[in-house]
């Protein structure tokens, strides 16, 4: 703007309006209720990012969102997890949110269960794997969405693609979460009469070794890599390409670079549900009146490169149905 193009009075008016806006905008935001989002993991972790995305999309403009990441994927010790929980607790006490949303197991395990059982402060969890029995949920002040994978459908699909399959291997990171997943898959496999074995790795080399071993099974179920510290996707892809002969399936979208067929959960569904429930609670609905439910969305992905390298032939209807993983 050229100097003097407007009358000084108008310029003053604009300045005053700007000052008023600076004061009014935060004040307007301050009228919104407070929603604290406690993530068990860290930003950059694909699953957590998806949950956060769904949550923020649902709560945007309806409450003030403050996020705390416990980062328990990278901080592996029990003490670190407890310390992170205490930090979250301190934040709750200082910021005094109207509702707390937590994502994944560790927030439930280290924050809700020890400190907020039947508390006045409402909690909405999401991303807890398979069951909440171990945390004693639901409490009066706690409800949420459990994270389940379409394990049964996935195993049935794998059996259908590998006629006569009776032996499978589960590969994942050597973490408590993966152990929990493995237990579920074991049960589902055994229900379907499959011989189940698992290999949980702490390093990429161990994971590649497990993958190589898996070539002796009818098919491999790929668990999450979260917890393998030296994970490098490109290295992993490079390592497995010459080894791949067997069908691999997964329920984690971020494992698709190293998996042929994905029936993957949708993390946004967890965040959206948690956000919707939080809004209901903010509207006065008692948490205990909202049932704990499980997610039900999943999507179908294919990795054509791996499928080709293994020289597998998939049914045309599956090839035309599955999304091509980019």
């Amino acid at each position: 703007m050229r100097p003097g193009i407007f009358h000084p009075a108008i310029q003053n008016l604009v300045r005053v309006a700007g000052i008023v806006f600076l004061f009014v905008a935060p004040a307007a935001a301050a009228d919104l209720p407070k929603c604290l989002f406690v993530s068990s993991y860290h930003q950059g972790y694909a699953w957590s990012d998806g949950v956060e995305r769904g949550l923020r999309q649902t709560l945007q403009g309806k409450c003030q969102i403050h996020q705390y990441d416990m980062d328990t994927k990278r901080k592996k010790s029990e003490e670190e997890h407890k310390a992170a929980a205490l930090e979250a607790k301190a934040l709750i006490e200082s910021w005094r949110p109207d509702v707390v949303i937590t994502a994944d197991d560790n927030a439930a395990k280290y924050l809700i269960q020890p400190y907020y059982r039947d508390d006045k402060l409402p909690f909405v969890f999401c991303g807890i794997n398979w069951t909440v029995k171990e945390y004693g949920f639901p409490y009066k002040n706690v409800t949420g969405m459990i994270e389940v994978a379409p394990v049964k459908a996935m195993l049935e699909e794998a059996r259908g693609l590998v006629p006569g399959a009776h032996k499978m291997l589960y590969i994942g990171a050597d973490t408590s979460t993966e152990m929990k997943n493995a237990a579920r898959i074991r049960k589902a496999a055994e229900d379907q009469g499959l011989v189940y074995e698992e290999k949980l790795a702490r390093t990429l080399d161990a994971w590649v070794a497990a993958y190589q071993a898996g070539q002796d099974y009818d098919f491999i179920v790929m668990g999450s890599n979260a917890g393998i510290d030296d994970w490098d996707t490109q290295r992993a892809v490079t390592a497995i390409m010459p080894l791949t002969r067997r069908l691999t399936v997964t329920s984690h979208e971020w494992m698709m670079p190293v998996t042929m067929l994905g029936m993957t959960k949708v993390p946004e569904e967890q965040g959206e549900w948690a956000g919707s429930v939080a809004l209901q609670i903010l509207d006065g609905v008692a948490p205990q009146s909202i049932p704990v439910i499980a997610n039900r969305k999943w999507d179908l992905y294919l990795n054509p490169g791996l499928i080709d390298s293994a020289a597998l032939t998939l049914p045309p209807q599956l090839l035309s149905k599955g999304k091509v993983y980019q």
Partner: protein
């Protein structure tokens, strides 16, 4: 009388004006009501068309859901969710898609456990509603538990596990759906207000069983669409007063009733109620949409009424003005005619009764009217005279010298319309009558000469009377000789004549001797008779130019014009000798 008539007319005009105002208002209001009624029925048609289409869409969606269920060996919640989302996106009035799963009593625990294991730790089949009956009886196939809902939001998720069969109002619709294999409808009371349910049963196997008993035996569950009424009625101007019923059986069931409209304003209280029933069939289920509402007072347009009324009133006033003007003109003409008639009557009577003869002619002098006096005077009957020229009726001559007088009509024109003259009328039979005639020109409003009126008065009597009076003043009544005064007047003139001229005249005095004795002896009658005889004899013996007078008593005097002394003596002798 006229004032009364005008006043009455004004009252009538005012009443008619009021009637026109009422009529115009009535027409305008009726027009608005008709428009509103038409709009209402057009709305009916729109509602019927739209709701039929939407019900067809719901029917198609539900049948697609049912078809997909039957076609697939295994239908996961994920697949159902994907399908349900599309239905929801396509039909915004579908609040939710439900799956009610038939759970036998013996399978209840296992069913609940399977849900709990699948991530629904609190899932349980629960009762809701009137009966609260969670114990399947021989009359019911089992629980109809809500096992799927799309969208899965916190509000709807709380109904998972709800046994819809535990509600009496839903049981009938579920039974109907199961038995018929077709769509049935029910209130969506358990799910929420402002919605209704469309239900369709699904069965084991790939095809819907063909018999009712088989359908009852093979039922797998029921799919339902929760239809949100406000959204279902959106964009069709449904408004308040809508009432949707259905007949799954013979007994109608109210699916929803729109809240009553807000208390209508006072105008609306006077407006007619509108009602329409729209029947839509999703065979075998029938739906009826009833619309009961009071006409919206906003449909009335007072400004339009004022315009229409003003137009009518304006036309009426213009008409009244024309009528009044014509009436007044007619009345004025009638009054004038009446007045003219009266004037004419009065004139006729006057003319009939007056003593003067009145004759009117056209400009050429042809008679067109005679009054009775004129008829009597002229000796012509009115009818006979009419059409004849005035000259044929009579002629006028000078009273003095008997010369003909000019045409009185021409004289009237010449003498500026009116002239009077004394004349002698010579009738066609030759009789002569002294008259005074007055002629006047008759002119129209433009001054054109249209005829003449001739008024003729018979003055012969007056003339005779004057003549008699003059005679009596100058003559002796007994002997009819000039009297002493006249004699002296004439004598003076003669003397003057003699003095001024060279002429000679003679005077003779006569006195009757012993006349008194005759009077005394024979009486005055005899004396008078004697005097008359004397006068007669004397008169017989004098010339016409001489004068004989009785001075009084028995005295007579005569003078002889232009005589000398000798002749005078001779005249004396001749006169006295004869006596």
């Amino acid at each position: 009388m006229s004032a009364i008539r005008i006043g009455r007319r004004r009252v009538v005009a005012a009443l008619l004006g009021l009637l026109v105002v009422v009529l115009a208002l009535g027409i305008a209001i009726r027009n608005d009501l008709q428009l509103a009624n038409t709009a209402f029925h057009e709305l009916d048609d729109e509602i019927e068309t739209t709701l039929t289409r939407r019900l067809d869409n719901l029917n198609a969606s539900l049948r697609s859901l049912s078809g997909m269920h039957h076609a697939m060996t295994r239908l996961s919640q994920q697949e159902l969710s994907a399908f349900g989302q599309e239905i929801g996106r396509s039909h915004p009035y579908v609040r939710a898609i439900l799956q009610l799963r038939l759970v036998d009593a013996g399978e209840r625990a296992a069913y609940e456990e399977s849900f709990q294991e699948a991530g629904f730790p609190t899932f349980a089949i629960t009762a809701n509603g009137e009966s609260g009956d969670l114990v399947p009886s021989p009359a019911r196939p089992g629980y109809m538990a809500l096992s799927f809902v799309e969208p899965l939001d916190p509000g709807l998720a709380r109904f998972l596990g709800l046994d819809f069969y535990s509600r009496a109002d839903l049981r009938e619709a579920i039974d109907q759906a199961v038995r018929s294999g077709e769509i049935s409808a029910a209130p969506a009371t358990p799910i929420g207000k402002g919605a209704f349910l469309l239900l369709k049963a699904v069965y084991k196997g790939f095809f819907v069983p063909t018999t009712e008993s088989e359908r009852l035996a093979q039922v797998h569950g029921v799919y339902g669409l929760v239809v949100d009424v406000p959204a279902f009625l959106a964009d069709i101007g449904g408004g308040p007063g809508l009432h949707l019923s259905t007949w799954n059986t013979e007994r109608p069931v109210t699916l929803f009733r729109q809240p009553e409209a807000a208390q209508p304003d006072w105008v609306a209280r006077f407006l007619p109620d509108q009602h329409a029933d729209i029947d839509i069939s999703l065979d075998p289920t029938r739906f009826r949409i009833s619309i009961d509402r009071t006409l919206d007072s906003r449909a009335l347009r007072p400004a339009q009424w004022m315009t229409v009324t003003a137009t009518f009133v304006g036309l009426y006033l213009a008409g009244v003005l024309v009528v009044f003007t014509r009436l007044r003109a007619t009345e004025a003409a009638r009054d004038a005619k009446e007045q003219l008639f009266q004037e004419k009557e009065r004139a006729q009577v006057t003319l009939q009764s007056i003593g003067e003869a009145v004759i009117t002619t056209d400009p050429t002098g042809v008679v067109d009217f005679l009054n009775p006096a004129a008829a009597q005077l002229t000796g012509w009957g009115a009818d006979d005279a009419r059409g004849r020229h005035l000259n044929e009726i009579f002629s006028l001559v000078s009273e003095k010298d008997g010369t003909g007088l000019p045409d009185p009509i021409a004289r009237a024109l010449r003498d500026h319309d009116e002239s009077e003259a004394a004349a002698l009328m010579i009738r066609s039979d030759g009789a002569t009558i002294a008259v005074i005639e007055n002629a006047a020109a008759i002119r129209d409003s433009d001054g054109h000469f249209t005829g003449a009126a001739l008024i003729v008065r018979d003055v012969s009597r007056e003339r005779n009377l004057l003549r008699e009076m003059a005679f009596q003043a100058t003559h002796d009544p007994l002997t009819r000789l000039i009297n002493r005064r006249q004699f002296e007047r004439e004598l003076a003139a003669v003397v003057d004549d003699a003095l001024n001229s060279d002429s000679q005249h003679a005077l003779m005095y006569i006195d009757l001797d012993q006349f008194k004795a005759i009077n005394d002896s024979c009486g005055h009658m005899a004396g008078d008779q004697l005097l008359k005889q004397v006068a007669s004899h004397l008169g017989e013996n004098i010339r016409r130019l001489d004068r004989l007078a009785r001075l009084g008593g028995d005295e007579f005097v005569a003078f002889f014009r232009d005589v000398d002394g000798r002749e005078a003596l001779a005249r004396r002798s001749a006169t006295t000798r004869s006596t």
